[in-house]
C-alpha cells in the first residue's frame, strides 16, 4: 500500500485548486448567475470527473475524483456550489453513466458534464426519509413506457434541473427491492417542481419538491432493470458518501489554514493566542480529525475503485467527514472569538453549510446503523 499521491496527481490537485480560486471563489453566485457558474465548473471538468471519457467526462477513478473535489472544496468558499455540483455528478451523472442505455447516455451525459444541463436526484418522500422502504411513488408499465405517480419531498437542484433521477415502486410485493430507477426530463407532461425552499445554508443549491402526476416516461428512461432501483441508489450513495464529502475535507483544510494563521497573529495578554495551549491543542485536534476523516475517505474511494466497497466503508468515511466538518466549524468560531460570529468573516456560513452534511446522503444515525449492521450487531 502506498499512502501518498504521485507527483502527477499532486500537480493536478494544485492546478485545480488554482483554477477554482481564480474562477469560482466567491461566496454566492451573482443574481441569476448559476448557469454561468455551472458552465465554468463544466469547463474545469468538475461536473463529470468520474464519467467515462467517451460520454464527455474525465474518466477518473473514485480516488482521483475525490482528490479534485477536495481541491474544489478547499478553493471555493461557496460550499453550496460544491454541494450542488457534486449531487449533480454523484447522484445523477454516475447512475446514468453506469445504468442508462446508449441513447440516454449519449443524449444526456455530455450535456451534464459540460454544464449545459443541471441534474437533481429525487428519492426522499415525506414519509420515506431514512426508511426508503416506505416509498409510495409508483411506476406502472404501460405499453412502451412507464407512468409515474408520487411526490418527492426533497431534491437538491430541483428548481433549476433539466434532468431528474428518481425512484418508484414497480413491484409492490418486493418491498424495497421492488423499486426501479428512472430518468425524467424537464418538460415531460405530469412533472412539476415546487421551491426553492428557504434553507439555513448551502444557499447556492436550490432545493425543492418534485411531483409526478400520471407522468409518462419512455421505457428507455428506466435505469438498469426493473427492480434494480435499490442497488442503483446504493451505488450512487457509495459514490456520494465517498466523493461528495471530499468537498468537506477541502473545506476543513481551508478552515485549518485560517485558524492557524489567526492563532499566530491574534495577540491577547501580550502573547499570540497560539501560545495558549487551549487554543493550539484545539487546532491540533482539528488537524487530527481532518486527517483521520481524509484517510477513511481515501480508503472508501480505493475500495470503490476495486469493486470491493462495503456499505460500511462509505458509512465510516461519511460519518467521520461530516462530524469532523461540523466540529471544525464550531472550533473555528471559538478560535476567532467575537469576530468569527460576524457574517462578514465568512465563518458562521461554514457552520450553516456543514450541519446538513450530517443529514443528507443518510443521517449520522443511519451511518452508525450501517456500521453496526456491517459488524453483525
Amino acid at each position: 500500500m502506498f499512502l501518498d499521491w504521485q507527483p502527477h496527481q499532486s500537480k493536478e490537485y494544485d492546478d485545480m485548486l488554482s483554477a477554482v480560486r481564480e474562477r469560482l471563489d466567491r461566496p454566492r453566485p451573482p443574481e441569476g448567475g448559476l448557469r454561468e457558474l455551472w458552465r465554468h465548473c463544466g469547463e474545469l471538468g468538475l461536473l463529470g470527473l468520474c464519467v467515462p471519457a467517451e460520454d464527455g467526462g474525465g474518466g477518473r477513478s473514485a480516488l482521483d475524483t475525490a482528490h479534485l473535489i477536495e481541491a474544489f472544496g478547499r478553493g471555493c468558499a461557496d460550499t453550496g456550489l460544491v454541494f450542488a455540483t457534486s449531487a449533480h455528478q454523484f447522484a445523477c451523472a454516475v447512475p446514468i453513466s453506469a445504468y442508462a442505455g446508449d441513447e440516454v447516455r449519449r443524449r444526456l451525459l455530455p450535456a451534464l458534464c459540460d454544464g449545459s444541463f443541471i441534474a437533481a436526484n429525487a428519492m426522499t418522500e415525506s414519509e420515506a426519509g431514512s426508511d426508503i422502504s416506505a416509498m409510495s411513488a409508483r411506476a406502472v408499465r404501460d405499453g412502451d413506457g412507464y407512468v409515474l405517480t408520487g411526490t418527492k419531498s426533497w431534491a437538491s437542484n430541483a428548481p433549476e434541473a433539466d434532468v431528474f433521477v428518481t425512484y418508484a415502486v414497480t413491484d409492490p410485493t418486493a418491498g424495497f427491492l421492488g423499486v426501479s430507477a428512472f430518468v425524467v426530463e424537464r418538460g415531460t407532461a405530469g412533472l412539476s417542481v415546487d421551491g426553492p425552499f428557504e434553507k439555513m445554508g448551502l444557499g447556492t443549491c436550490a432545493a425543492g419538491s418534485v411531483r409526478f402526476e400520471e407522468c409518462r416516461v419512455p421505457a428507455r428512461n428506466l435505469l438498469g432493470e426493473e427492480g434494480e432501483g435499490s442497488a442503483i441508489f446504493q451505488h450512487s450513495m457509495a459514490w456520494e458518501r465517498a466523493c461528495l464529502f471530499a468537498g468537506y475535507v477541502g473545506l476543513m483544510d481551508r478552515l485549518l489554514e485560517r485558524c492557524v494563521a489567526h492563532a499566530r497573529e491574534r495577540r491577547q495578554f501580550g502573547r499570540r493566542i497560539a501560545d495558549f495551549q487551549a487554543v493550539s491543542h484545539r487546532i491540533a485536534d482539528m488537524k487530527l480529525r481532518l486527517e483521520a476523516a481524509r484517510m477513511l475517505l481515501y480508503r472508501a474511494c480505493f475500495r470503490l475503485d476495486r469493486d470491493e466497497a462495503l456499505p460500511m466503508d462509505s458509512a465510516l468515511s461519511k460519518l467521520a467527514v461530516s462530524e469532523a466538518a461540523v466540529q471544525a466549524a464550531v472550533d473555528a468560531l471559538q478560535i476567532f472569538g467575537s469576530r468569527g460570529y460576524l457574517v462578514s468573516e465568512g465563518l458562521e456560513v461554514v457552520l450553516r453549510d456543514a450541519i446538513p452534511a450530517k443529514l443528507f446522503s443518510g443521517t449520522s444515525e443511519i451511518q452508525h446503523e450501517l456500521i453496526a449492521k456491517g459488524l453483525g450487531l
Binding site: D131, T173, A174, L177, G227, A231, E369, K373, G376
Partner: protein, 88 residues
C-alpha cells in the same frame, strides 16, 4: 455445504435476529420476506453481512436484487452461486 443446510442456517438467523424468536410467524423457505417486510433495507444489509461472513462470499450492490432476496430459498441459492462463481 448443501442447499438444505444453508436454508436451515439462514432460517435460524432470520428467526433469531429479525423475528426475535416470535414463533407465531409461519416462516418457510418460500415465505415472501420482502413482501412481509421482514427484509427492509437495514435487515437486508444485516443479512448480506451475515452470509458474506458465514459463507465467505461477497454480496455486491449488483446482487441486491429481488430474485436474490425474495425468499430464504432465493438467498440460499444466491450464496451457493456466489461461492461457485464469485462474479455472479
Amino acid at each position: 455445504m448443501e442447499l438444505a443446510a444453508v436454508i436451515e442456517e439462514i432460517d435460524g438467523y432470520i428467526r433469531k435476529e429479525f423475528l426475535e424468536g416470535d414463533a407465531s410467524v409461519e416462516l418457510t423457505p418460500s415465505s415472501p420476506l420482502l413482501e412481509w417486510g421482514i427484509l427492509n433495507s437495514m435487515n437486508t444489509t444485516r443479512l448480506a453481512a451475515f452470509v458474506s461472513e458465514r459463507y465467505d462470499v461477497t454480496v455486491s450492490p449488483k446482487a441486491m436484487r429481488t430474485d436474490n432476496f425474495r425468499t430464504i430459498e432465493n438467498v440460499a441459492h444466491m450464496v451457493l452461486e456466489l461461492r461457485d462463481r464469485p462474479e455472479a
